[in-house]
């Protein structure tokens, strides 16, 4: 199969989630006897294209109309690249950005789409996808009844791919600027993030739940512990609902999916919707005053206690160990 990988980038480097999509693409190409090509969209996209070319040959759509990224024009360019290049599959990361644009690509290409893929196999030359349903309570195996196929994969389930021995070629992709929709204008972009990594990119994620009473408490405990681990701060939906943490910290079925080396759940009960976002983490630690909280059922280690007492102790010990 010919597989096209949609590379998300920040203007320079390719994002980690896209390297997981690349892993999927390489696996599929290997299993079916095919080839992988990357696709980079943007304006002044030379740096991103060079970074992408470290992994695979890339097509680059470089046009001022493609920055900032807007689903309408981007989807048009991606769908055209799939059709003109005769690709069987186009894959990207199951991030918010990926779901936004590739969903629309799916709509343009006839709806053969599998999202949030966590595994795949090739049977009789056909791709079968594994994807969670019902907040991860069930795993479905699905087949798509035709193509071209559009796929988003979870980075938590596919190890990021490594660079190739030799860089790939960079081929410009002509963009028919006039044909692109101009019905959406970006009037404000998110402020660039502070020091902490994103929950999906960190090896350690420290998450807080309803136990935390304020943004200040969250920051001085959950945030401080995350910094000591060099990790990311995450949260349950309860805190997002309460306005204590911003939306992009939410881990779970309707937030972000993570699978770090270490996940600490501090004052989180462990509702299925939260577990859906973190249960595949390597080591899970829960601190909760309720010994019967369901979070302990998916944890490797637990402390039954008040987070306002235990977390400051942890911070103190870690600081002492660092010193």
């Amino acid at each position: 199969m010919k597989v096209l990988v949609h590379f998300e980038h920040d203007g320079g480097a390719i994002k980690r989630g896209s390297l997981s999509a690349l892993r999927f693409a390489r696996d599929v190409a290997e299993q079916t006897g095919g080839a992988v090509t990357g696709l980079v969209l943007g304006s002044d996209a030379g740096d991103a294209a060079s970074d992408a070319a470290r992994y695979v040959p890339v097509l680059v759509a470089d046009d001022t109309a493609l920055k900032p990224a807007i689903a309408g024009p981007h989807a048009r360019v991606i769908a055209d690249a799939v059709t003109s290049g005769g690709f069987d599959v186009v894959v990207g990361a199951a991030t918010s950005a990926g779901k936004d644009v590739l969903g629309r690509v799916g709509g343009l290409l006839g709806g053969f789409m599998a999202s949030d893929v966590v595994g795949h196999e090739v049977a009789d030359g056909e791709l079968l996808f594994r994807r969670p349903m019902f907040a991860g309570s069930a795993i479905a195996t699905v087949r798509l009844c035709g193509g071209p196929q559009v796929v988003t994969v979870r980075d938590a389930s596919y190890e990021p791919s490594d660079a190739a021995a030799e860089p790939g070629a960079i081929t410009p992709l002509a963009v028919d600027t006039g044909s692109l929709p101009r019905d959406v204008e970006v009037t404000g972009t998110p402020p660039s993030q502070g020091g902490r990594p994103d929950v999906t990119e960190a090896q350690v994620v420290v998450s807080g739940g309803r136990a935390w009473k304020s943004s200040e408490d969250f920051e001085t405990h959950v945030g401080a512990l995350a910094d000591l681990f060099g990790g990311a701060a995450g949260s349950s939906r309860a805190l997002v609902d309460a306005g204590i943490t911003p939306n992009e910290l939410q881990v779970g079925q309707t937030g972000k999916i993570v699978a770090p080396q270490l996940y600490l759940a501090l004052g989180i009960s462990g509702a299925v919707q939260h577990l859906a976002g973190m249960r595949n983490s390597k080591v899970i630690v829960a601190i909760n005053e309720d010994r019967d909280a369901p979070i302990f059922q998916v944890s490797n280690y637990g402390i039954v206690g008040d987070v306002y007492e235990v977390v400051p102790l942890l911070i103190e010990k870690l600081k002492a160990a660092d010193a």
Binding site: M113, A135, R143, V298
Partner: protein, 249 residues
């Protein structure tokens, strides 16, 4: 202003689901259904637009599914929708075919805005809104956190992977609701009673002119168990030792 709000019924997220013994589907005889939570956020926003921005807005909710779906669809009337339309089909449609049905409804109803949930929490596909926007050739704004009508369209804030983005979008458009858009109201008892007596428009999927063409088929379903054995520890020191042994600290 006419607002179309597509809705879906989903198994109540508070109950446990079980796969059938042969893995072909879900044990569904005891399942209790509710309107998809994100769709209620969309209904609420439509009501808010009517209250806040354009008083003579018409709000039409639409469901695609089995006859029984009428019950959950009525909840949108109780909340304050003007009309509800049920596109009847016994088939379990994948996102593509739902989008095709909604496209036909849009052709009939000619709304200025399609406002829907960002994902249905049963299959979590997160596809129908984007599919519909692509089919219609309309602009889309997914995962929205605020909505206001402005000269020439709508000003929207949407959730991205890294924070909030602001957009100005032309209408008609398809927008999908995220969690922080609003908190849906509860219908009062009298409103619920009144909604019981209101008619629901029905149209058969075939009569809309949709020929179902499956795109995504479930071939197997399993319910995994990923429980672990938790070692309960007594102190921060013990925990840090354990994490060092696991080489994650």
């Amino acid at each position: 202003m006419k607002i179309l709000v597509p809705t879906k019924r989903v198994p109540d997220p508070d109950q446990r689901v079980r796969a059938t013994a042969d893995g072909s589907g879900l044990e569904d005889k005891d399942l209790y259904y509710v309107p998809n939570p994100f769709d209620l956020i969309a209904v609420e926003e439509a009501l808010a637009i009517r209250e806040r921005e354009i008083e003579d807005s018409e709000i039409v909710t639409v469901g695609v599914g089995v006859t029984d779906y009428e019950k959950e669809l009525r909840a949108t009337l109780a909340m304050g929708a003007d009309r509800a339309l049920l596109v009847e089909t016994a088939a379990n449609l994948d996102p593509w075919n739902v989008a095709l049905a909604l496209e036909k409804v849009v052709e009939r109803e000619q709304p200025d805005l399609v406002l829907m949930g960002k994902q249905a929490i049963d299959d979590d596909s997160n596809q129908v809104g984007q599919f519909l926007a692509a089919r219609l050739g309309w602009p889309q704004a997914t995962f929205i956190a605020s909505f206001a009508l402005v000269e020439g369209g709508a000003a929207i804030q949407r959730e991205t992977d890294t924070g909030m983005e602001s957009l100005k979008i032309a209408l008609p458009a398809v927008v999908t609701a995220d969690l922080r858009l609003n908190e849906p109201r509860y219908a009062s008892m009298p409103q619920i009673m009144k909604a019981q007596r209101r008619p629901i428009d029905r149209v058969a999927l075939e009569d809309l002119g949709v020929t179902v063409a499956p795109r995504c088929e479930i071939v197997a379903l399993e319910v995994p168990s990923a429980n672990r054995t938790c070692a309960f520890l007594d102190s921060a020191d013990e925990l840090l030792d354990a994490l060092r042994n696991e080489e994650v600290c």
